[in-house]
């Protein structure tokens, strides 16, 4: 199979934008992505597109893919809308990589978008947690805050993880997001703030939960046959892994981990031929603070049950051994559901091309993105690698 390369990626700001439509946000992300390609890339170069979107609010629920790709002038190329809850555009990225590797396309757009802020509070409530298991889990009174809180309750009971450790995730990610001009909640918060916020679903308080966001993100994946036309510093998609699981937490083997992420990680590390130790940074799916801690364990950043100590050690801060969520993560940067996975790829691209500004990790070679749908019904992981030696 051919190799696939990440040659460009860009995003809109994340936040609440009454003046913007889903199409205008997607256009902003698309233009940022094409502009980021070192040697330039035209809309007419794109052979195919995969677009992630949950469809919060209803709006263009059917054919929402072509609705945005035609808006930015992709001129009739095949477009598929990918729905895998919060992992929609992580999976769209995986589809793009598959299309390139299979030989069916040379230049593929992987993007995503979501508008979540322009509805009445009643209409917003309607869409809360629609990707949870509906008949039993939701009707036991939970949305995702509740389900992740249940995971936290067991993790705390089993491994002694503390509320303070959960709050440290928020403190770190806000500190990073404050350095990201695209971040929705780009301000620092103190440990005191992050411990004293109102409870949403015990033990999770408001600072343990990501916001709802408007936003769009795009990444451009090309084949080894054409990569040289677009860049002199190729970033290879070294590993891809994905996994699914039962939609409801109660149906799973584990409440203290996300088996789909464990399977995705195993596949991705094997394909890339690397170990967690070989990573220079990671963007993980921190929809709730406990989710980042679970990711540490599921992705092998630490042993099972030791995520609390890892966040306390500071090793996942910028400057640490393995910086996690340098973008601010879902917590601070924001979580426009359909855009989130592609948005993580944007951060990986910025870090690996040395354009991450104040939050730049020192000279990274390899980074991982980890995107989860729901409470773990879907998970997708990419490992991106600067190919300095190979291309030399």
């Amino acid at each position: 199979m051919r190799d696939a390369y990440l040659v460009g990626a860009g995003q809109s700001d994340y936040g609440a934008f009454p003046e913007e439509s889903y199409r205008s946000l997607f256009r902003t992300a698309f233009e940022a992505a094409t502009d980021s390609v070192p040697n330039g890339l035209e809309a007419s170069d794109v052979d195919e597109a995969f677009v992630g979107n949950l469809g919060v609010g209803g709006r263009q629920l059917g054919l929402s893919g072509p609705a945005v790709t035609e808006h930015v002038g992709l001129g009739g190329v095949p477009c598929t809308r990918v729905e895998n809850a919060c992992a929609a555009s992580g999976y769209a990225t995986r589809q793009a990589v598959q299309a390139v590797k299979s030989g069916m396309a040379d230049v593929v757009l992987a993007g995503g978008f979501e508008i979540m802020s322009d509805m009445s509070s009643d209409a917003t409530k309607y869409w809360l947690g629609v990707s949870g298991e509906t008949e039993w889990e939701r009707l036991s009174g939970t949305t995702f805050s509740g389900v992740y809180a249940q995971m936290a309750s067991v993790h705390m009971e089993t491994y002694g993880t503390t509320r303070e450790q959960l709050s440290r995730v928020a403190v770190k990610n806000h500190s990073n997001g404050a350095k990201n001009p695209h971040a929705q909640l780009g301000f620092e918060c103190s440990l005191e703030d992050a411990q004293s916020a109102p409870v949403v679903a015990d033990p999770l308080n408001l600072y343990h939960c990501c916001p709802t966001s408007d936003g769009a993100a795009c990444a451009l994946i090309v084949s080894e046959d054409v990569v040289d036309e677009y860049t002199d510093d190729p970033i290879r998609v070294a590993g891809v892994g994905a996994g699914s699981d039962n939609v409801g937490l109660f149906q799973r083997d584990s409440y203290t981990g996300v088996p789909a992420s464990q399977r995705a990680a195993e596949t991705a590390y094997e394909m890339a031929g690397v170990e967690p130790d070989d990573l220079d940074f990671a963007e993980v799916h921190d929809c709730f603070a406990i989710a980042e801690l679970l990711a540490y364990e599921d992705l092998g950043f630490c042993e099972k049950g030791e995520a609390g100590q890892l966040i306390e050690s500071g090793e996942t801060e910028i400057g640490g051994d393995l910086p996690v969520n340098t973008s601010g993560g879902l917590k601070s940067k924001g979580h426009p559901i359909g855009a989130t996975g592609a948005g993580q790829v944007v951060e990986a691209f910025k870090q690996l091309s040395g354009n991450a500004g104040e939050r730049q990790v020192e000279d990274p070679t390899r980074g991982l993105t980890h995107n989860v749908g729901g409470s773990g019904g879907a998970s997708v992981i990419h490992i991106f690698e600067k190919e300095t030696e190979v291309s030399a």
């Binding site: 809360l128 947690g129 629609v130 509906t134 008949e135 036991s140 067991v154 015990d202 149906q251």
Partner: protein
């Protein structure tokens, strides 16, 4: 002869005191009521009926499958039209072919159901189950609402047993306007013509008791109690003393139980071991039933009428939904009524499935086996309703799905858990998500023992969906 062979009674856990009303209104219009029971936001007459009926069957040691006659009585059933005995029967696992009746529209409905059950047993029914449950409701500034309590009682009827219904009589004469609810209205009202109301009450009670074959000489008298004073005013008409009325009275601590008033008092007198009890109801319109029960003083009973969970008046208005605005207009994630109906064996009866390949349990029993992946038809296995908490959270404001926004506005934060529900012998379990009820959310922790009950889950498209919830094990 018809005998009561098991008695069950239930009152919700919440109480509000006369003082709380006094503080809120400057007066309390329900004379003789010290405190009263208040149904939680997820309770109604049907769920209270389930609670009482399960206890009665347990007390009588009767298998629900052998019940061939079922009656549900309530002055104001949760639905004005639709036969709720189909759902009540399914919750209790009563056979589909059992005879069913609904008695409604009168506070006399509970004794009408007992009456009809007695007739049925004297005809060709073998095992009857009479359930009366009620939670009257009036305008907040009206005496009907001040007195309104909540509770239920159930009686298993068989042809022989420790408590026999030895005599009965009824009486009716027109007295319009004393207590009524017009079509489409939620609140019961009355004209409040004091002397006229009392005349209606005492004349019908006196008429029914006079119709008995023998003058009652009883140890306890369960008299209809719209408030805590009126039953005593009927002592003379009923031919009993106030001590006998006091002996069976529940109105002072539970309030006006409507169609369940006499049934709960009768249940409580039987549970207390009185050898002879007179039960006299009164329903507006007006009419009365009088029944005499002679017992050996040892009637099996499962009673759950005690609680000290106090509400303030503001909390009372919230629990009852008086000051909340209803569910959000957006609705929620959609589960169609036909989909819901397919899950009734799980929602009501905890029917899990055993994988024929590997023997593992799945709940709900659908799709591939979560242990071995086999896609085979499950063998039904009924779980016991007992188990333990595996994971739990307390859902605060902002964390609830919209289906539960109204319930949360009414009853506050709630626990949401994953529980391992066990088989009868406790050797196996299946995990399922369930909401906590009947206790503060803090009373649910990982590892705690729980039991299931049936409550209102939510209402969508005007159809209330009932299903199991969990509460701390007794």
């Amino acid at each position: 002869m018809t005998a009561i062979t098991g008695v069950g009674a239930y009152a919700p856990r919440f109480r509000i005191s006369a003082e709380a009303f006094q503080d809120a209104w400057g007066q309390f219009q329900a004379a003789g009521v010290t405190e009263k029971a208040v149904a939680a936001a997820d309770e109604d007459a049907l769920t209270m009926a389930y609670e009482a009926a399960g206890r009665a069957l347990e007390a009588a040691d009767v298998d629900a499958a052998s019940v061939d006659w079922l009656a549900f009585a309530c002055s104001r059933p949760p639905l004005a039209e639709e036969d709720l005995t189909a759902r009540l029967g399914a919750m209790l696992e009563i056979d589909e072919t059992a005879t069913r009746h609904v008695f409604a529209g009168s506070t006399r409905a509970g004794t009408r159901a007992l009456w009809a059950g007695t007739d049925a047993l004297e005809s060709d029914s073998t095992t009857g189950l009479v359930v009366a449950a009620d939670a009257p409701q009036g305008d907040p500034d009206d005496g009907v609402d001040h007195a309104a309590g909540a509770g239920a009682a159930a009686f298993v009827l068989e042809s022989e047993g420790s408590a026999e219904i030895v005599d009965r009589a009824e009486y009716a004469t027109p007295y319009p306007g004393t207590r009524f609810r017009t079509t489409g209205e939620d609140e019961t009202q009355g004209l409040g013509v004091t002397q006229y109301d009392r005349a209606a009450f005492t004349e019908t009670i006196g008429g029914a008791v006079s119709g008995l074959e023998t003058d009652p000489d009883v140890e306890a008298a369960a008299i209809q109690a719209p408030d805590g004073k009126l039953p005593y005013r009927a002592a003379g008409a009923a031919g009993v003393g106030t001590d006998e009325i006091q002996a069976a009275a529940t109105v002072h601590s539970l309030g006006d139980l409507g169609a369940a008033s006499v049934p709960v008092s009768l249940a409580s007198a039987l549970a207390d071991g009185f050898g002879s009890v007179l039960a006299v109801s009164h329903g507006s319109g007006a009419g009365a039933d009088a029944l005499v029960v002679e017992t050996d003083g040892d009637v099996p009973a499962e009673m759950s009428l005690e609680s000290d969970d106090s509400l303030s008046y503001a909390e009372y208005l919230r629990q009852r939904g008086v000051v909340t605005s209803g569910p959000p207009s957006g609705g929620g994630a959609y589960v169609s009524v036909p989909s819901w109906r397919r899950s009734i064996p799980q929602r009501y009866n905890l029917e899990a499935g055993r994988c024929p390949e590997c023997g593992a349990l799945s709940f709900p029993p659908e799709g591939a086996c979560s242990s071995c992946g086999a896609l085979e038809a499950y063998e039904p296995v009924q779980l016991s309703g007992e188990g333990s908490i595996e994971a739990v959270t307390t859902i605060s404001q902002g964390g609830a799905p919209p289906e539960f926004a109204e319930q949360q506005a009414r009853s506050g934060d709630y626990a949401a858990a994953i529980v391992a529900l066990e088989t009868d012998d406790g050797s196996e379990s299946a995990s399922i998500a369930a909401m906590g009820t009947d206790a503060a959310p803090d009373d649910f922790a990982v590892g705690d023992r729980i039991e299931t009950t049936i409550r209102r889950i939510y209402t969508q498209e005007s159809v209330t969906r009932y299903g199991f919830k969990i509460r701390p094990a007794e």
